[in-house]
Structure formats: C-alpha cells, structure tokens
C-alpha cells in the first residue's frame, strides 16, 4: 500500500517535467551558477509549459491541480543539480498568499501572470535585525489616504533580483502589539521607492538571486493589503507550514539523489585494489545512509498525505524540517567523504550539493526555531 497515490496523470506530468528539465534546464545550470542568477526567460518557459503555480484555480488561469503536482515539480527540480529556478518558492510558497488571502481584484490582476511566468514572485520577511524573531520586524507601513507608505529594509530575499512582485511583511507603527500590527502587502517591482539594493554573494544556491531590498517612502494602494488589517502574522503562521514542507521535499529528494550518485561512484571507483563499495567500512556507511534516506522518505510522504487531507501538520512539519535538513546535510557530508579528494573538486556535482544543503537548516525558520515550535505545540 503506497502512502501517496500517484495517478497516470501525475506520472505523465512527472515525465513531461523531467524531459523539459533535461533539455532546457540542466544544460544551462553551470552557466547560471557562474552568473549568480537564473534568466527570466527560463521562468517564462516554465510558465509556457504549465509548470508554474499548478495549484492556482482554473478560473484564474491555473490548473487547479492537487499538491502532488507541486511535490513532483520539486523533486524533479532537485535532479537538475541547481536551485536558481526556484519554482517551488514562487508556486507553492509566495503565490498561495495571493490565492488564499488576496482580494478578488488582486487575484484577477496577478494570478494569471504568475501562472504564465510573466511575473516572478518573492516574499520578504527577514530584516537585518529581525530573523528568527519575526515579530520584531521594523519595516513600517503607514496609511496615507488611499495608500500606505512603506519604509524599511529586507534581507536574504530569495528571487530578490528577479522578482516582479513581492509579498512584503510590514508593521503599522501606531500599533503597539507587534503581532496584530503586522500586515502583508503586494508590491510590484518598479514601484517608486522600492529598490533592489544589493545582490548577496553566498556559500551555495549560487544560481539563485538572493538580495537586500530597500523601501524609501514606497507608496502602494491600500487595496494591496492581503486579508483584513492586522492579519499578517497569522497568515504567515498558516502558510509557513507549506513553505517548510517544501523544504522537506527538497531535502529528502536531494538526499536520495546524492545517495544514488554516490552508490554509482562507489561501484565504479577503485582504491586499495577494489571498488570502494567493497571496502568494509564503506559498506556499513552506505547502509546507514540508505536507512536514513528511507526514513526521511517515509516521514515525508506521510506528511504530504496529511497536508493534502488538510490535517494540522505544525508539529510534524517542524520536526521534519529540522530532521530531514540535518539528514540531507549528513548525507552530503558523508557522500563527499566517500569520494575522497575528488569530493572537494567543484567539477564534482556533489561538491555543489554539499554547499547548497547547508542553508536548508537555516531558511524558512532555523532548525532551532523548528524545535521551539514543535515543543510548544506538544504542550510542553
């Protein structure tokens, strides 16, 4: 009995995605990694193929597809060995805020270009002085007539340079309570006072444009607020569950890919007169790794099933986010170890994977925050 029931349509979708990635993404990955950004044209192609925002309802131009389509896309993206074409971030993390909380007008205006790839999205929560402590954000949104005026700075924003549309967390400075004073606004790139101030250089995710954003008297219509006033923090708390689940999917799929590549390497590579897969201390190591990856997969699939049934996954997804990301880092580390000196060569795709894995334990809520949430909801 499978935990997840993939239909023929799902399998066909997976085939289509895989073949598209093999033809149009994987061959360009090294170039994108070097240039530190993934071209907009690739996003546009994704849209043309119908690979973006598959969950958006048909009436707004999407497929109205179930969550398994998102899972498939995320898993196949991992096979490309890069992270820059961050479709899961766009489709399954950012756009759902508009679908779930946007006014009819916002949905009519923005969902269709998000589906087509004409608009790439990002979400901005973190600030230089507010990371794990999300409630302490200082970016302010002050009402002025029909507009709100935004001032502040955001950092470590994925898709920060490519984004055409941003979901921005800001607070009403007149509200003393940090939680009920927080709102989310949809801000278009090019709006006066919204500056993509700096592209950041980082250890991994090098084809992904991570940026610092600055807002100086940036004016957006009040109608760009999502949900009812003061609801920002709760919306984030709700949608962060799926964001973390997306991280788990990436972590488990990456660990599976690394393990598979390493098994092949160990079978083909000789040392001490035999394939290194035959060296005894490696054999147990390989079994230990395979066991961890399998545990991760079973845990993940069950979580996906629960999420699709609409169950509350807050405790499980917090546990899974810290465990699967740490598992993926361990696997990446041990895979390099098995490859010896070749492990540190950048010509080896696993070296990039090792650099890429490290951030999984940090973004979408650090693993320490995950443990804090889990323990709180366990009633302790």
């Amino acid at each position: 009995m499978e935990i997840l029931n993939y239909t023929e349509d799902h399998l066909k979708f997976r085939e289509r995605v895989r073949s598209f990635f093999e033809k149009e993404v994987t061959p360009h990955v090294d170039e994108w990694e070097k240039s530190g950004i993934t071209p907009k044209s690739a996003w546009k192609r994704m849209g043309q193929e119908g690979f973006l925002c598959t969950s958006v309802p048909k009436e707004y131009g999407g497929m109205g597809a179930d969550f398994l389509y998102s899972v498939i896309l995320s898993e196949e993206l991992v096979q490309t060995g890069h992270t820059g074409l961050a479709a899961p971030l766009h489709s399954d993390v950012v756009v759902p805020y508009i679908t779930a909380f946007g006014s009819e007008e916002l949905k009519r205006k923005y969902l269709s270009p998000c589906v087509s790839g004409d608009m790439v999205t990002a979400i901005a929560m973190t600030e230089p002085n507010a990371g794990s402590d999300l409630a302490s954000i200082q970016t302010s949104a002050v009402e002025d007539g029909d507009d709100v005026v935004i001032n502040g700075q955001k950092t470590f924003i994925s898709n920060g340079i490519n984004c055409d549309l941003l979901i921005l967390a800001a607070r009403d400075p007149s509200m003393s309570d940090a939680y009920s004073g927080m709102d989310l606004y949809v801000v278009e790139a090019g709006t006066g006072g919204f500056e993509k101030s700096k592209k950041l250089s980082k250890m991994g995710w090098q084809s992904q444009d991570t940026a610092e954003l600055t807002f100086t008297d940036c004016r957006v219509p009040k109608g760009n607020r999502l949900g009812t006033k003061g609801g920002g923090f709760l919306m984030l708390m709700e949608k962060l569950q799926q964001e973390r689940l997306m991280v788990c999917i990436g972590a488990v799929a990456s660990a599976e890919r690394l393990l598979q590549d390493t098994l092949r390497f160990c079978g083909e590579t000789m040392d001490f007169g035999k394939p290194i897969a035959k060296l005894h201390n490696n054999r147990f190591k390989i079994v230990e790794m395979a066991t961890e990856v399998r545990l991760g997969r079973v845990f993940l699939d069950k979580l996906v099933a629960d999420h699709m049934e609409g169950k509350s996954i807050v405790v499980d997804v917090s546990m899974a986010k810290f465990w699967t990301t740490e598992m993926a880092m361990r696997i990446a580390d041990q895979c390099l170890e098995l490859q010896g000196s070749y492990g540190f060569c950048e010509s080896n795709p696993m070296a990039r994977a090792w650099r890429d894995m490290r951030v999984l334990a940090i973004f979408a809520g650090t693993n320490e925050i995950m443990k804090g949430i889990a323990v709180k909801f366990m009633g302790l």
Binding site: D333, G340, G343
Partner: protein
C-alpha cells in the same frame, strides 16, 4: 605531566597571532578565496619575520624549534583565516622529509630557500584514491641516475612551487620498493594541469602533475633507494599533526566569530548568547575545540620527543579536522542567514574545514588505519 607552553612557545603564539591580526586583510581574503590564489605577499612577510620554517635546523635557515612550535604558528594563522593559514602551512610541504633524510647539499639548497621566502616546496604523493601501497608513478635506473614516469594527483601549490618531492615506485621488481626524489619543478618533462576549482582551501591551488621521462640525477634521491615508503609514512605523521594544527585554528577561529556574533546579535529582546540553545551549542563547540587542541599538542610533543608510536598523529588529524568541520558548521548556524553569506566569513571556514578533512586522507581511512593499528595488524 605539564600542560603549559614554555615562555618561548607562548611568545611565538602571541607573535603569530598579532601578525595574523595585523596583516590578514579581510578584503584580500575574499579576493584570494574567490580567485583561488596563493597569498604571496602575506607569505613573504611571514618568512621575513621568521614564522616559516621555525622547526628547520638553525644551520639550514631555521630556528631549531620543534613541531609543536610550528604547529602553534599554523594554528594562530588558521584562527585568523582558514585560507591563508592552510596555504602558509602547505608552503613547505615535504620539508620535514628533506630534513630527516635529505643530503647536506639538498638541505643547504632547499631549506634556507623556503625559510627566507624565496620559493615553495611541494610533495607529490597521492594518485587517484588514498592507497599509498602501490604507485603508478615509477622510476628506473638510467645511467648513473634515474628516470621517472607517471602521474600524481592533488599536488598542492604545484603551479607555484619551485621544488617538488615525488614519491614513486620501482618500475620492475618488488612493487613495494618505493623511493623519493627531490626535483626542481621546472625540470624537463614535469607538467602540471590544474584540477580546477575546489570547494575549499582555494588559496592552495592543486594540480595533476605528470612526469614524462624525467631525467633525475643520483644526487636527487632523498635518503636511500627503496626506503621511500617508510619515509612517506613517517612524513605523513608530521603532516597530520600540521593538518591537525590547522584544524584547531579553523575550529577556534569559527568559534571566536560565533561567540562574538552571539554577543552582538539581539533577537527576542536580548543578545542571543543568553539563549539556552545558543549557549548549549557554544558549549559543544568549546568541547570540540579543546579536545582537538590538546590531542594535537600531545601529538606534536610526542613527535618532538622522537617517540616511535604513531597513533597520536592519526588521532590529531582525525579529531581536529572533524572538530573544524563541526564547529564551523555550528558557527554558521549561530550566524543564521548571515552565516551562509560570503560576507559573514564563517562559510569560508566551513568550506576550508571540509577540504582539510578530505586532504591527504579522509576520516574513514584514518579510522581504518587506527583500527588496524589497535588490532595489531600494522
């Protein structure tokens, strides 16, 4: 049992630390790490001030100090910057083999040259894999001298070094007969090709070096013919202690940065250093740093006393390179998103720790060496 450094050692440690603090410019570090360049000007200055080759005999341009003194300098340099520290530590890779077994002429030619900052030495020993019991790089008798052919992998700084020590195996006869030669890097028939970008230790560019009918004089032989394998084994113990010292420095440097950041960074209305999970992490990190440090010091002192047992050197590299990796990993975590950014510096320590961990041999190879030794098969 006295765990204190001598006055002289404490002075060396302090001087190396001050030098590193004053001279290792963060902007140049980012640049060298990015472009994969050996930090030539810093190395020159370190030589001018007598930090390189302190453990060489005084008669050959050194200060006649021990491996422990040398290790303290490597540690201090790596603590300030993992890239510069490992690069300077490998600038005279193989020198201890020349000191132990080279002829007077070889020592007079090479050692002062290294200590005075005139050039670098490297050692070509690895091929594909970690198995050192048999080499594809071979030598044969050629008139009064020899001729060498073959290929060596992962040769550190081979594009910069003027001298190269090469370990090879006799072409015909007993495959266990290995010999070591000291050559100039520019000798006819020696060619290097970059192995390409690496994830860490980027200030130590490496090459695959091929030897095509390289004609070698008899006087280029290091020590006795056929003793190469034991020279290499003995040398690698020294190299492990040096790598261990680098590991201690990297771990300490990452720890310093994490502690500093945790004190400054405020979240939830207070410095994060006051939060229990952060304090616990710092405590775990401190445990690893101290375990590594005292194992490395012990191993260095053991070799300085010419004790034959080689377990400590393996322990030193194993414990210290893992400490560097784990502490730098945790240091990134304490820095959060900033830790993943190049600007935060700790990601550089983490990458260098990983490269150090895989350099020469991996932890699992060390574990099996140690296991063999404990079980009594070596």
């Amino acid at each position: 049992m006295d765990f204190n450094l001598t006055k002289e050692q404490a002075d060396i440690q302090k001087a190396a630390r001050e030098f590193a603090r004053g001279e290792f410019d963060p902007d140049r570090i980012l640049e060298w790490d990015h472009t994969e360049e050996f930090p030539l000007p810093i190395w020159k200055k370190a030589c001018d001030l007598g930090f390189q080759g302190v453990h060489f005999p005084e008669s050959y341009g050194g200060q006649g100090l021990g491996l422990l003194d040398h290790a303290l300098i490597i540690e201090a340099f790596c603590r300030q910057d993992s890239g510069i520290g490992t690069a300077l530590g490998l600038s005279d890779f193989g020198a201890e083999m020349v000191i132990a077994h080279g002829t007077d002429e070889q020592k007079r030619e090479v050692l002062p040259f290294l200590a005075q900052g005139k050039g670098l030495l490297t050692l070509a020993f690895l091929e594909e894999g970690y198995d050192l019991s048999t080499f594809q790089t071979v030598y044969r008798k050629n008139g009064n001298g020899y001729m060498i052919g073959g290929k060596k992998s992962y040769v550190t700084l081979a594009g910069t070094a003027q001298y190269i020590v090469v370990a090879c195996q006799v072409e015909s006869g007993d495959p266990e007969v290995q010999s070591v030669f000291l050559l100039t890097r520019g000798a006819k028939g020696i060619e290097g090709e970059s192995i390409g970008e690496k994830l860490g230790m980027r200030m130590v560019p490496m090459q695959t070096v091929s030897f095509h009918r390289v004609v070698v004089r008899e006087k280029d032989l290091v020590g006795q013919e056929g003793k190469g394998s034991s020279y290499l084994k003995e040398f690698l113990h020294t190299a492990r202690v040096e790598a261990g010292a680098a590991g201690v420095g990297i771990a300490q440097g990452a720890f310093d940065r994490a502690l500093d950041y945790a004190r400054k960074r405020e979240q939830f209305g207070r410095a994060i250093v006051t939060l229990e999970p952060i304090k616990n992490k710092l405590a775990d990190m401190a445990v690893r740093v101290e375990m590594a440090r005292w194992t490395v010091y012990r191993a260095a002192s053991w070799l300085d006393q010419k004790k034959p047992e080689d377990r400590w050197a393996i322990l030193a590299k194993m414990i210290a390179s893992k400490a560097a990796l784990e502490v730098a990993h945790d240091a990134i975590q304490i820095h959060g998103g900033y830790g993943y950014m190049t600007e935060g510096q700790v990601e550089h320590f983490y990458r260098d720790a990983k490269a150090l961990d895989l350099f020469m041999e991996s932890g699992s190879i060390e574990k099996s060496m140690l296991g063999d030794q404990i079980a009594g098969r070596v």
